[in-house]
Amino acid sequence: MITVHGLRKSFGLLEVLRRIDLAVDAGRVTAIVGPNAAGKTTFMKTLVGLVVPDGGDVRVDGVSVRRSWSYRARLGYMPQTARFPENLVLAELLAMVKDLRGTTAPYESELLRLFELGPALDRPLGVLSGGTRQKISAALALMFDPDLLVLDEPTVGLDPLSSRRFKDRLALERSRGKTILLASHVMSDLEEMSDRIVFLVEGRVFFDGSLEQIRARTGEPTLERAIARMMEGERR
């Protein structure tokens, strides 16, 4: 579904992505892991079209993200931090995104109920807590029933109950055959959800394989230990 070819990006002198090649199949959950500043967020942002690559290309079903914007009708994106226009209320924000997309949101009421966002509907977005904004961000990413979900540390800031509900919801999306890209530092979450682990270090793909492969390679029982082992190995 997604093919990444020779993707490069620098910010000034800092090379953030150095020739990334990757193919992501439809209907699978791919976890993007790696130390801080490995390029995870930049990588995901190029998929969404927020970061413009210096070289290489990203194609979603054969269409280059550099030349098209219509592919985003099938994409749900959850950024690391979510902030919305302070003086609008949640109901207006939801109406706006539906209006911009020009479609209805089949899962809107279901997700509002799931994340208990009903009371926030008529409150200005500027007064809502970080966790509530994160839940709104999750609802916005999921409510249009997109084929492709790009989630950048989605559970950060969620309370345990919301986090649990969010992960159950992702499992449901997975069973529905959605393609999911997930960056996270919470290894237990990834262990639970991912089909494949892509380990980025300094803008390169350092390891790419299944959970079993990563455990076999490092001899560690859990993903957290296995990844930590790999990060240590990389430093040495």
Binding site: K45, V52, W69, L75, F84, E86, L88, M96, L100
Partner: protein, 263 residues
């Protein structure tokens, strides 16, 4: 285009409830009210307001435009993640900012005039000139602010650029004009001055308003030349065209930079 209008509409809906914008409108309303309270005639009030408008409108438009651009970054990301093109997001956000600021300005300035001045059969020409100039200055300096903000990720640098531009247009440019006049006093400079005025949107706005008032006579011979030039329909059209160009040029440049910008 359809998407840009939608983005603009929601941006205006958000900004019109912003405390800053209400304060901005209130500021002009308070000054206008005070001028009338202390017994100024509408024509005098316009001259007094003009100096305030020429200083405050460019500064507030530039600084507010710039802060909003950086401050709404996460929201811009949300918009850019939707199936709409970048240009629509950019022009929509620009239009939303400029329209909100212009509405704040219009309500603040026109309010006291309509309250005190209506029904006296006053000539509305000078007031309309003041309002049009203020709106155009809003459009220009919001565009310049977005140009600065799209060109750099460094807020401080962008702020420095817009404040310098404001200082240049409102203060330094007139100083430089004076130097030119003193240095070349032996030559007939009127045509040159008309040309140089076209290059500075703030001076242009000032002259468009002053020529609608009797005080233009106080400008002496230069005033007469300005009157001769900008007083005609063609001159006025040229002045307005220059102001529109001052809006369009930075806006097109900013839109181009926006296409390659990272968020």
């Amino acid at each position: 285009m359809k998407h840009a209008l939608k983005v603009a509409r929601y941006t205006v809906a958000d900004l019109l409830r912003s405390r800053w914008l209400l304060g901005y409108a209130g500021f002009f309303a308070a000054i206008g009210w005070a001028l009338f309270y202390f017994g100024e005639e509408p024509a005098q009030a316009i001259v007094s307001l003009l100096s305030v408008v020429l200083l405050v409108v460019p500064l507030v438009s530039a600084v507010f435009g710039m802060t909003q651009f950086y401050g709404s970054r996460e929201f811009t990301e949300l918009l850019l993640a939707q199936p709409i093109d970048r240009r629509s997001v950019f022009y929509g956000q620009y239009a939303g900012l400029a329209v909100s600021l212009a509405l704040g300005f219009l309500l603040g300035v026109a309010g006291p005039f309509l309250w005190y001045g209506s029904g006296h059969g006053e000539d509305l020409g000078p007031l309309v000139a003041l309002l049009v100039s203020g709106v155009l200055l809003t459009a220009i300096f919001t565009a310049l602010a977005l140009l600065a903000a799209t060109l750099t990720d460094n807020r401080l640098r962008a702020l420095g650029a817009v404040v310098f531009l404001w200082l240049f247009c409102t203060v330094l440019y007139d100083g430089l004009l004076l130097v030119v006049i003193v240095l070349f006093e032996a030559y007939p400079l009127e045509r040159l001055l008309v040309g140089l005025t076209l290059l500075n949107p703030v001076d242009l706005a000032r002259i468009v308003v002053l020529l609608r008032l009797d005080v233009a006579a106080l400008l002496g011979y230069t005033g007469a030349v300005f009157e001769q030039f900008f007083g005609t329909a063609a001159g006025l059209a040229l002045a307005l065209a220059a102001l529109v160009l001052w809006t369009a040029a930075p806006l097109v440049l900013a839109a181009r930079a926006y296409r390659h910008r990272d968020f």
